[in-house]
Subunit: 339 residues, 2 copies
């Protein structure tokens, strides 16, 4: 991370002071050319990176800055959760228009704190919760706000949960409820499109229904639980939507799958369609042997059986949805970049 | 990394096929929620991230796409070099306007290959040279081109070259020649500002003089050499310029330094000012004990003694420049973000 060397308490220096400088496995944090991570000899390192861009992954005039910071980190943590890895360190590259780094100039009597302060509040609060110290990153001026998040996590050698491990006969499970993030986004769009909505301000009465979108909870604890007990044969996090992410497991494992519409744990605010294709719920989808003792809940988060893995070899779509009216192919319809 | 699942050979699939899927330490590359890295038990991991933004770190109408890809990776590799680490894996997050991902539509008779192909050529050629397999990343549409590079490297535990290790009495050295990148950028600006310059095309006669800017060579081999033989007490790469980067070493080590203007290895195309403040040379600056046997060259790259580390405690600037007309403070005047 580039550091300022003049006398002022620069933005980077402020970040450096607020970031936890050490953690389990982090030996050297912000302030040198690289951070240094040290693992237990029996561990390997899981690394993931996710790019968030204003206007595409969030909207500056819709999302509170705390939510943007939270969501940026949650995307990366969720990838670690899907591998069953414990967080070791986070790295954040921020490209920001200058106006987002300074106090809002319009109201001198009651100056608003800079956008980046709210972003860091959201980011670091979630980072502390999951013991993911901010170990480095980069900061640059940019005409459009971009945030790239890197997470490094540790997992016992050979024990990471992969997309490619699903076997015919496995049962399929998800954590939590699905579709809430999509329903929350719809609610946010309605709120911000309506009258009286002020930039990034969420009325207290709507906080709960928008929370699955604004503040998704990565399932780190649940991923580590599955990994430690070797309960799951394959896992992925639901970032693009159940239909798309399940098709990834099928493609990487060389299998087909079918899911029961009636079994899907739909969020009370959501529709079946949102639960199937909505994306950004950041719940875990995993396959487990029929003999595995999968609990009904892990750390308070319900686990629901939604379908099964089938033998490959036949023609047709990789995922089938079973409803009361029969079977139908479930085409992936989640978020796609450059599609 | 998000993957496409439809039948087409998508952009991500093309990247995945071109990227080396394995390397020393890389156990699982592109295609799952995380990449997996495995180190020798006696090693620790060095991680760095650098954000490059169009209009700030490069210009789409000045720099050939190969150069943008090369420079993106070189920035990260250079941070590993400064720690004495060997590359294990690279991660690339790209935010690109759609037009940069498709063949240039204007000339149908002789379609130009997409900008991203040239970018990847430059990136992967340098990656292969330094055994830094592309292990993951992210790809999204963005109104402005941004590239965030993450490098993970391995270094024996406790042996990384830090900025904070300089001791009074140490001698200061640099690799290679300084100022060439700054002179090259000046040449590029002149070329692109003049008549007859076509977007991103460099006339063959100018390739050599622009190379230090367009294709800087990260000093991985030299950094590992210094680390293995424990020759350097402190090191940094010259990304922001000698004046700024030396002040970082002074600040982190709690020392002062003085350098001899006459000793600085100035690139033949450059001025003293460019050598002192130019930045982006990506040479290494290091301090070594007077008793250390520092060679005159490492793998063909000259090593030049340029000054010494002084005891702290007196007032005044942290870096002094000694010229034939006496001593003068050398204020950091390199690149600063949000300054």
């Amino acid at each position: 991370m580039r550091t300022k060397i003049d006398g002022e308490l620069s933005l980077l220096e402020r970040i450096r002071r607020r970031a936890k400088s050490t953690g389990t496995g982090l030996r050297l944090g912000i302030g040198d050319d690289c951070a240094l991570l040290r693992l237990h000899p029996a561990e390997e390192l899981a690394v993931t990176t996710d790019l968030s861009i204003a206007g595409r992954h969030f909207r500056l005039n819709w999302h509170p800055s705390e939510s943007v910071g939270h969501r940026t980190l949650a995307r990366g943590l969720s990838d670690l959760a899907a591998m069953g890895a414990r967080p070791v360190a986070a790295f954040l590259s921020l490209g920001l228009p200058r106006e987002l780094t300074i106090a809002h100039p319009r109201r001198k009597s009651r100056p608003q704190s800079p956008w980046i302060e709210g972003f860091l509040n959201g980011f670091l609060t979630l980072a502390d919760l999951h013991n993911a110290p901010l170990a480095g990153g980069d900061l640059a001026e940019s005409p459009v706000a971009v945030a790239d998040i890197v997470l490094a996590g540790a997992v016992p050698r050979g024990r990471a949960l992969l997309r490619s491990g699903a076997r015919p006969g496995d049962l399929l499970y998800v954590t939590g409820k699905l579709g809430g993030a999509s329903a929350g986004l719809q609610g946010l769009a309605k709120l911000m499109g309506g009258r009286g909505a002020s930039r990034g301000r969420i009325p207290p009465g709507l906080q709960d229904s928008l929370a699955p979108h604004l503040y998704p909870q990565p399932r780190i604890v649940q991923g580590i639980y599955l990994q430690k007990r070797q309960l799951a044969n394959a896992a992925i996090d639901l970032s693009d939507g159940l239909s798309t992410d399940l098709s990834h497991i099928c493609a990487e494992s060389g299998v087909f799958a079918e899911i029961d519409a009636a079994a899907i744990p739909i969020h009370p605010d959501a529709t079946l369609d949102q639960a199937l294709h909505g994306g950004e719920d950041y719940e875990l989808l995993f396959s487990a042997s029929p003999s595995a003792r999968v609990p009904r809940a892990i750390a308070g988060v319900p686990i629901t059986r939604i379908g099964r893995v089938l033998r490959t070899g036949r023609k047709g779509p990789s995922v089938t949805l079973i409803t009361s009216r029969g079977s139908q192919p479930l085409d992936p319809a989640g978020w796609q970049h450059f599609s």
